[in-house]
Symmetry: C2
Subunit: 601 residues, 2 copies
């Protein structure tokens, strides 16, 4: 089993070449977030991930979670690991210092997430939704709610959940039935059943804060009648120091644990609310707005799950391919014995695919991530709006494309391992089982595509889309002279320019088609999301190749730089052309997809 | 959980429109294999699959196999099911009547395999390799060996295995170390360890016949020093009736069972041969030839595993999509409540993808399968040679492309199910876990691609390839007038003609490049196999569309015919263009794939 090593050198490359760290440190409140501080934080996170969390990944999968009398016991070692996670301040890296947080950029939290996910994705899910709960209360909660819950969540002493799904409603939240009845003291009593709630019951933290979608008695039907409530496992009780401690058990029971394909050490719970005491968060009937605030954070994090597993798959596949000896290159004498399988062309192709996807999508995710901070903190409202547009556009792409990539990488890692990849003790098949859910939860990847094409693309007649295409087009213009002078650079820059032009044409076509016939947006959405995901990652590769070229030309001796150029060439020839079939499918239009009657014939 | 229903109507469509059944029945020895007989056999196989095997699929996965004191206990119900399988004559459907077989075409065996695999792939693996063992002994065994083993295998009273892999050698059989020492009585003593042997120990049959690769004392190194031996779990002992019964235990011990991602009810065994008594099959040092005879049979069967699981995935995904209600089409009022998810464009896209792949690759597999019978039995040596060329060319494509499709379909079925697809009780995630090994065993799909590009393509300067391209080109010529007259047909036929021309150009390019530099064949092999797989399936869709069009024009009332046309349109617009990126990758050449030094930088 391959030991995880945090890819700090690659992250530093992205921070120096793709992310404008100096822009981040210039934002109000982030003055202390210098490159040195950030690197130091990442090195500490790497130690936690490598030495505490990674060693529990396989054992957690084998042991799983157990539900006994409504209590969930986590696998051996998880309590101690969580205690170190909380004590290290990792739950609140980017939380407000006023609430006990670290006050670092959201980008740092995102990078830390990658390391923790690679090491132990199941562990990462337990505190994973605390960020969304923190964010929702921070945005919509009352001053009292913030004072109570935010320090608990930022310290990791309590964890948070998002309780949306019910047996009859997953994607379609308009069907939520959980009822909220006002009590005399201003609280509410929640009654209903929620399912597939990640970490809704566990023994890692002293309390669990549930953010719950439910209907008030006078609620209109559908999504316009949903409100957000906060309900804790233990009712918060004032302590003598003016703080809060867990009091009596609330009327919330964990009634079941899902038996899943993977993520065995992540408790996926069914919860029964039986008149549970809760408080309204924000305005009545405006729960969907708050839900989306949580959900958008969660979607970026799920994208990082894809990246984190892809990185682990890369490390495992590369290590195995360098060790396993089997076969020989054409022309090598049989008497020399077998060579490491990494010499074989098809194995190199598989490894190159994983690496180009991992490093390209890491650059993409962190590039998007810095805009989260800009959107939150930039003093200029126009700059905030522009960054917010970009985050809104790219969130479904990061969620869906990166989880696709994570699964593809995990699958290729199995293939590189051959038969060993299929047996449990090697640990590789776990990556595929664990990541498979990421393309489904927090909105299936099909829903992400509909969000992109149905909401994000048409907004402001394509305003958000232009936030992506304009800098891409400017990049092509700026780099055209370089490509003209250097065939090696041209081989990287020209395919990007060609596919960008094609993607712009397809965008115009799909925008018009969807305007005329909304069904066109639903049949073409998946292909359009993939097209933009592949293209945006290609842009990252073009930019990373230029940076590597420049540093090599300046005399820097670092084998990573030549490797970046090789990966960029591979991406442009082997992955970027994958845009083609998606473009053809979009152009074929909605009539090319069989009707319901045909599919049930 | 979706109940399996054998897709007999679709199989009948393929038999009438793609497979020339009358050509098969005209072959010597197959006079009785009329369409009526074949359909009756399939109906019986469907009953076995639907009522006996399918109900044990999920329970077999939960229970798995157990190894105790060297004995493997199969899951509950498997013994009774195997008894019915053997009593029904299914082990020897296509075996020689002289050895107690059914004497039907190999094609019938292949179709029966599909049904059994869909119902319970783990069960299917136990007798699955008996066919390869039968075939190897039939081709290379002595008369005495044939008389002893073939009736036992054809009746299913004994099962067979292929013992190739050792801990240090999977793909690279030149590294086999198992030793064979001659004994005074003409037998040999085998000593060595074999791993990943499917069904090498189980309690379904009274004896197990191992075909084992090993080295004689005077063997040259590498693959030219490997011989084939037969060694049974129980030494065969003559009975009073002149037959054979299982005698004393041979010195063969099952020392381990793999704990796998899936196929839990298929025992994957480690075997220790400790001076086991064995007999040489065929000539000394010619074991690789016999191994390939077994292996080619096994590879077509593994391709059918891909198809069988894809069919099951299709049935489950379609059923769920028709039942689960969630969301509404644009323009539907919220007050009407949710619609079945099959109405949504992206769900239809996923279902259409699975169906087009399942039905297209079924046609392809059966079209190849009929050539197995022609190659075996045709009175004209030229016709036999032509059919053999086609089978040799298409075997790696059927193995690799169909297993890719099987996994893709299983994965899409999970996606259609959303969260339900990830929980074990729904049964869908099992399809993905079960099929994942099929892209690895019996030669990884990368090895299939190398076999295609390194051996099958260059043979006779492309003679085998022309066996595929010539009839495709003739089809395009013949149908050109139809396309000119009918835009609906043109929309199906023209894309095929375009991509065929492109594929022919790429073939020429790759053939020349590989001739000049064998590394080009290794880096381009995967893409070339995929290109041919997608193209050949596209040809099947063009042919099926024409047949459906003709039958509709003749007034036939059958909704399946319109569905075939819709699937063909979908294939041409959404799947066939997938050739494009593979072509680009091949044209980019070996320099586009990073070198070893770059991948380890």
């Amino acid at each position: 089993m391959t030991a995880y090593r945090a890819p700090l050198e690659d992250i530093r490359f992205v921070l120096s070449e793709i992310v404008a760290l100096e822009r981040l440190a210039a934002l109000p409140g982030l003055e202390d977030a210098t490159a040195d501080v950030i690197v130091q934080v990442l090195e500490e996170a790497a130690r936690l991930a490598e030495t505490v969390l990674a060693p529990l990944n396989a054992s957690g999968d084998r042991e799983g979670c157990r539900l006994t009398d409504g209590r969930v016991t986590m696998p051996a070692g998880f309590r101690e690991a969580y205690a170190r996670y909380a004590a290290g301040g990792w739950a609140g890296v980017a939380a407000d210092p006023a609430h006990g947080g670290g006050g670092l950029p959201a980008l740092v939290n995102q990078m830390v997430d990658e390391l923790i996910i690679s090491a132990n994705i199941a562990f990462s899910t337990v505190p994973g939704l605390s960020h969304g709960a923190y964010h929702a209360i921070d945005l919509y909660g009352s001053a009292a709610q913030k004072a109570l819950y935010l320090p608990k969540l930022a310290s990791g002493i309590w964890t948070g959940t998002m309780c949306l799904t019910e047996p009859q409603c997953g994607t379609d939240l308009g069907l939520v039935r959980t009822r909220a009845v006002p009590a005399a003291d201003g609280s509410y009593h929640l009654t209903g059943n929620k399912v597939w709630i990640t970490a809704a019951e566990h023994d890692l933290a002293e309390n669990i804060v549930h953010l719950v979608l439910a209907r008030l008695p006078d609620a209109p039907a559908g999504t316009r009648g949903i409100s957000l409530f906060v309900a804790a496992k233990h009712l918060p009780e004032a302590d003598r120091a003016g703080g809060w401690r867990p009091g009596a058990r609330n009327a919330i029971t964990c009634t079941g644990l899902e038996h899943k394909m993977g993520l065995a050490a992540s408790p996926t719970c069914a919860l029964a609310f039986e008149g549970a005491t809760a408080w309204l968060v924000g305005e009545p009937h405006r729960g969907m707005r708050a839900m989306f605030a949580m959900m958008n954070q969660a979607r970026l994090m799920v994208g990082m799950q894809g990246l984190g597993l892809a990185e682990m798959a890369w490390q495992a596949a590369r290590a195995f391919a360098g060790e396993r000896r089997q076969g020989r290159l054409p022309g090598q004498p049989e008497s020399d014995g077998p060579q490491p399988i990494i010499v074989h062309g098809d194995v190199r192709r598989m490894l190159a695919t994983i690496r180009a996807q991992v490093e390209g999508t890491r650059a993409l995710a962190l590039w998007v991530g810095q805009h989260v901070d800009i959107a939150l903190r930039h003093p200029d409202p126009a700059a905030r709006a522009a960054a917010d547009d970009l985050v809104a556009l790219m969130t479904p792409i990061v969620k869906a494309h990166l989880t696709d990539i994570g699964q593809e990488a995990a699958d290729l890692a199995i293939q590189v391992h051959g038969g060993s990849g299929y047996v449990r003790e090697m640990g590789v098949e776990q990556y595929l089982r664990d990541i498979r859910i990421a393309r489904i939860y927090e909105g299936t990847n099909g829903i992400q595509a509909l969000d992109l094409v149905g909401r994000k693309m048409p907004d402001g007649m394509g305003r958000r889309l232009r936030r992506l295409f304009h800098p891409m087009a400017a990049f092509v213009e700026e780099t055209r002279p370089l490509a003209a002078d250097d065939p090696a650079l041209a081989a990287i820059l020209e395919p990007f320019a060609t596919w960008l032009a094609r993607a712009q044409g397809i965008s115009l076509h799909l925008g018009q088609a969807a305007f005329a016939d909304p069904i066109a947006a639903t049949t073409g959405a998946h292909d359009y999301l993939k097209l933009l995901g592949i293209l945006a990652t290609g842009w990252m590769w073009a930019r990373m190749a230029l940076a590597a070229h420049r540093r090599l030309a300046a005399g820097e001796q670092n084998p990573m730089l030549a490797a970046k150029l090789a990966s960029a060439r591979f991406y442009m020839t082997h992955i970027l052309p994958g845009i083609g079939p998606h473009a053809t499918a979009i152009l074929a239009g909605p009539d090319s997809v069989p009707e319901v009657g045909s599919l049930t014939a």
